[in-house]
Amino acid sequence: MRQILENRWLSIAIRLVLGALFIYSAWPKIADPPGFAQMLSNYRLLPDGWVNPMALVLPWLEMVAGISLIAGIMRRGAALWIAVLLVVFIGALSINIARDVGVDCGCFSVAASQKSHAELIASMKLDIARDFGMLLMALLTLFSPIAWKKPPGASLRGACASD
């Protein structure tokens, strides 16, 4: 397990895939903020005054975090944001499933679908499963031992401290 987690190429692959997914999902929201604002308000979770600012910033947050992950710049911060966002998405979907309100996910598209209530609930459950998968990827990137662990025998002293 450790071996797998410390595999450099695997961690790079995870970063690239996760980053690409977030850029892909951010694009339609950036292209059409009023459409995304409508999606957000359908969730009936945010106070009215918060919907529009969120609709403006959230997609760019996904975009910037996605680009950071792929470019490898500030990738821990990006991974943390992505993990937080995914937890929020999972929560928002779960609350609406719990109160039996069918909403369009608005995850990868902001066009209102013409789905029936049952179809909406079913696809929301799928969306949650997918979000959990992505959350796992984000956590792997965030906690990847490659960036945290001081390798055994490696000496930090004298290398970074005395320059």
Partner: protein, 227 residues
């Protein structure tokens, strides 16, 4: 070996890539020599503090990009900063005399802002000259709308302005208004009704089944940006 010497050693090692991986932006580890090299400024190790700084920076960048993109966007894709139309619509709600309200409101007992009407009622009101308002997005309006309906896309930033224009065009507050969007699942009509009520209109009806139903029944529909 001094730090400078280590850095030199690292720079000279023929295959940096095969030797080293990067545990954090400031450091490079070489398994062969089992040494961790400093390749950047001091104190650039990875810590929660640093991650917190990164998340803050990412948020600031995203907020700036969001704001900037909203400034330079085309009209139909702009978003009001706080609430669609909230800044433009001055709340000019005037008190409606009790007697008048009782006559005009279609559901006086519920005290609702608007009455929900069926397709037949909507069609009857269409015949008797009620003004239809389309709450959907501009693109949907242009693709096809009830003939004569005016576009007030409630999610776009100038919804408030369009309501003001309505009044400037001489639509009186007593005018019968029928609001619709794309069907029973959309709440844009209710949202628009709220704004209209704030502006002082009080004969508000929402045609719940909306445009798809109207179109299906073969009633007058036209395309384009004009009512």
């Amino acid at each position: 070996m001094s730090a400078a010497a280590r850095r030199t050693h690292l720079a000279q090692s023929s295959s940096l890539f095969s030797c080293a991986w990067v545990p954090s932006p400031g450091m490079t580890y070489c398994p062969r020599t089992r040494l961790l090299y400093c390749t950047a400024r001091d104190g650039e190790g990875m810590s929660w503090q640093k991650i917190a700084r990164e998340t803050g920076l990412i948020l600031v960048v995203a907020a700036l990009l969001g704001a900037a993109s909203n400034i330079f966007r085309s009209e139909s894709h702009k978003l009001a900063w706080i609430k669609a139309g909230a800044l433009a619509t001055k709340a000019v709600a005037r008190p409606v005399p009790e007697a008048e309200r009782a006559v005009s409101t279609k559901s006086p007992d519920t005290g609702a802002l608007f009455a929900e009407i069926t397709a037949e009622e909507a069609y009857r009101m269409y015949g008797s000259g009620a003004l239809f308002l389309d709450a959907r997005r501009t693109s949907a309006y242009e693709a096809g709308h009830i003939a004569g309906a005016r576009s007030v896309p409630v999610w776009e930033h100038d919804a408030g302005v369009r309501i003001d224009v309505l009044q400037r065009d001489g639509v009186s507050l007593e005018k019968d208004l029928v609001i619709y969007c794309f069907g029973a699942a959309c709440e844009d009509s209710a949202r628009l009704a709220e704004k209209l009520a704030l502006a002082g209109f009080y004969k508000l009806s929402v045609y719940k089944e909306g445009f798809p139903d109207w179109e299906k029944r073969g009633w007058p529909v036209i395309q384009g940006a004009k009512p």
